[in-house]
């Protein structure tokens, strides 16, 4: 019986052990990110409606995103010869991460402010509406494009200038904000 008591104490110690184990495990996690070069957009030419003749009837001149000019109502082209500056769409070059798609945003319309060519005339502000976009890479998809293998693409912007009757001879200018984002 004397021998049992120390053993019971030992057994008790073993039942609530505290021992250094030293076992280890390692896991290799990863931090992952896709870092993309920013888009660079360069204006190569402005949207130009060219020289037009405005009559007593309202009219419009439209430059399609593809660069085709058309005239309606009391408005016609003032160009009679080859040396006349014809209208054309705005053109932008886009550079960025190859293969990535992007979107283009333009406002629905902007206001063009005019400067009358003759003293005493007042040039009313004109509306440029129907702003549209056509990219080189995705010409049928509207305001979207995709950068090629070298990270390049381009797009054009067209619109419609609304001309009221009796507009005096004037030079008009408007700013069209264009926003391009990866999409």
């Amino acid at each position: 019986m004397r021998a049992v008591i120390p053993l019971a104490v030992m057994a008790s110690l073993l039942a609530s052990p505290a021992w250094a184990n030293g076992q280890s495990a390692t896991a290799s996690g990863v931090g992952r990110a896709e870092v993309v070069a920013p888009l660079v957009v360069t204006r190569e030419s402005d949207l130009d409606f060219g020289s037009i003749l405005a009559g007593t009837r309202p009219g419009t001149v439209t430059i399609s995103p593809a660069g085709v000019a058309s005239y309606g109502g009391g408005v016609d082209s003032a160009c009679a010869g080859a040396d006349c500056a014809a209208g054309h769409a705005a053109r932008f070059a886009v550079h960025g991460e190859s293969g990535r798609s992007y979107t283009i945003a333009v406002p629905d319309s902007v206001i063009a402010e005019g400067t009358a060519l003759q003293a005493g005339d007042a040039a009313p502000p004109l509306t440029v509406g129907g702003l549209g976009v056509r990219s080189d890479s995705r010409p049928s998809e509207g305001a979207a494009g995709q950068l090629d293998a070298s990270g390049s693409d381009g797009f054009q912007v067209g619109g419609t200038l609304v001309v009221p009757p009796g507009v005096p001879a004037a030079r008009y200018r408007a700013t069209v904000p264009v926003t391009v984002n990866y999409g």
Binding site: L7, A18, A20, Q23, G29, A33, V36
Partner: protein
């Protein structure tokens, strides 16, 4: 700390050699070791972002995101890394134990890929009582009430990714090695 695990085996052996009642316990209960495992369940995802030059993106252990000088694009999932630490009790063991574990993250890593350099820092965790992890500096936490056959602790690790971009883009994949060591089983 008390006797080491081998010492326990030795003690049992002595008791058995003495023909005492402790020999009734199967030897395998003590010869089979308990085990710890650590799995990386989920990568630390910073998503896709535009970096004009220098900037950082922080994804903390809770999944909160902060950007500085970078601009996220796309809908890529973003979130912290997830690890699961499992302590497997030795076969035949009974009752609950408390496991004290040391967690260590290796020194912070930098990756250079083309014109992009990325560095991880400011590591955060949701380990109980351990909001931050410092590379190379061990932290200790406790797994209470660990019952057979195993107990586990899942935790998340977030970090800040500093990016310097001089040209082009890059896919960064920066190692995030984490190790765990059992310090004691009580």
């Amino acid at each position: 700390m008390g006797a080491s695990f081998p010492n326990r085996v030795w003690l049992r052996t002595v008791l058995c050699a003495a023909g005492l009642s402790a020999c009734a316990v199967p030897v395998t209960a003590w010869a089979d070791t308990a085990g710890i495992s650590l799995s990386a369940d989920q990568v630390l995802r910073f998503g896709t972002f535009v970096a004009p030059s220098t900037g950082s993106r922080t994804v903390d252990a809770g999944g909160a995101v902060a950007n500085s000088g970078v601009f996220p694009i796309g809908g890529d999932p973003v979130g912290p890394a997830q690890f699961t630490l499992t302590y497997n009790r030795a076969p035949g063991s009974t009752g609950a134990v408390t496991v004290i574990v040391q967690v260590l993250m290796a020194s912070s890593a930098t990756q250079v890929q083309g014109g992009v350099t990325g560095t991880l820092s400011a590591f955060s965790t949701d380990l109980p009582g351990i909001p931050l992890l410092f590379p190379g500096q061990a932290v200790t936490f406790t797994m209470n009430n660990c019952r057979p056959p195993s107990c586990s602790q899942t935790f998340h690790v977030g970090a800040r990714l500093d990016v310097t971009r001089t040209s082009g883009g890059a896919t960064l994949s920066i190692p995030l090695p984490v190790s765990a060591t059992v310090l004691a089983v009580l």
